[in-house]
């Protein structure tokens, strides 16, 4: 029990800088859902495909980082103002590049990811055809 208390106290110290970041209350729509359930669903779907910039392996929907909260606020107020999810995604991508979006994009650097499986499939089909043609 004592060691548990000690580790809790230590954990508190370890997170002190994070606590300091949160001395200001979170953005109004960081944790508050939109009143319109349809808009909230759109926002939620978009937030799950946007990457948190300070905690790069999480989506902003999953992250409690203050900056992720500020990004959720942006997404929600923009959806409520009538912007489409793809407009908001491209607004962010104009600022942070492909990096901020988890949705796969075909671009100058990513096209091999899409082309290679197709090429392998074609090669495999060619090999199969040759084998079966030989037997027949």
């Amino acid at each position: 029990m004592r060691s548990l208390c000690l580790s809790l106290v230590l954990a508190l110290f370890a997170f002190a800088p994070l606590a300091a970041q949160q001395s200001v209350p979170p953005a109004p729509f960081a944790y508050r859902q939109l009143d319109n359930p349809g808009e909230e669903a759109l926002a939620q779907e978009l937030m799950e495909t946007l990457r948190c910039l300070t905690c790069q392996s999480q989506s902003i929907a999953d992250s409690d980082a203050p900056m992720a909260g500020d990004m959720r606020h942006q997404v929600r107020i923009r959806i409520a103002a009538g912007e489409s999810p793809e407009e908001i995604r491209s607004w962010l991508m104009q600022r942070y590049g492909d990096y901020v979006s988890y949705r796969p994009e075909v671009s100058a650097t990513t096209w091999p990811l899409f082309a290679v499986p197709v090429l392998i499939l074609i090669a495999a089909l060619a090999i199969f055809r040759r084998r079966f043609a030989r037997r027949a």
């Binding site: 800088p17 970041q21 200001v24």
Partner: protein
């Protein structure tokens, strides 16, 4: 047995080798802003502390290039870069601060303790300027031209060796 039987195994070994190599490489965690060369997005921020004016994007359009420093009193690397900002100020740079999620009393205490190189500091509680300009953390420093265009981004705290680079970029931005 044909040597060609070994080809798939070789390909697999090559793939494993590539994966193992990439795993040992340090992860690139720097997200560069794509806003370089574009106009500073509109903002108009309240003063972050009583002793200094706030910051607005229109302030950057008077013909004089400036540094835009995104920082916070809770950010430890910001303490490390404080002396370098002081040096930049002494060399003639005008530094406008944007304090992220900060309280006025914390900003005042930081300036008292680590010096005040800023001409103005705006308070950005929602990271609006930060998101608008493509910055992904604190501290970051941008060179803004006299017409309000983003010319250069420095990510992370400013070290001694970065001071001449920033001064040079500032000089270029004034041309």
């Amino acid at each position: 047995m044909s040597w060609r039987l070994w080809l798939p195994l070789l390909a697999f070994a090559g793939f494993l080798g590539l994966a193992a190599y990439q795993l040992t490489q340090p992860r690139d965690e720097i997200v560069e802003s794509r806003m370089i060369g574009k106009a500073l997005p509109y903002f108009d921020l309240e003063p972050a502390t009583a002793s200094l004016p706030g910051a607005a994007s229109d302030d950057f359009k008077d013909g004089q290039p400036r540094l835009l420093n995104i920082w916070a009193s809770w950010c430890l690397p910001c303490i490390a870069e404080a002396p370098q900002l002081e040096r930049l100020r002494n060399e003639g740079a005008t530094i406008v601060g944007v304090a992220i999620r900060d309280r006025p009393e914390d900003v005042a205490r930081f300036l008292e303790r680590h010096g005040n190189p800023y001409a103005a500091i705006g308070s950005d509680d929602l990271s609006e300027v930060q998101l608008g300009i493509g910055s992904s953390g604190v501290p970051e420093t941008f060179v803004i031209t006299g017409t309000g265009k983003i010319a250069y981004q420095h990510i992370g705290d400013i070290r001694e060796r970065d001071v001449p680079i920033l001064l040079e970029k500032l000089r270029e931005a004034g041309e």
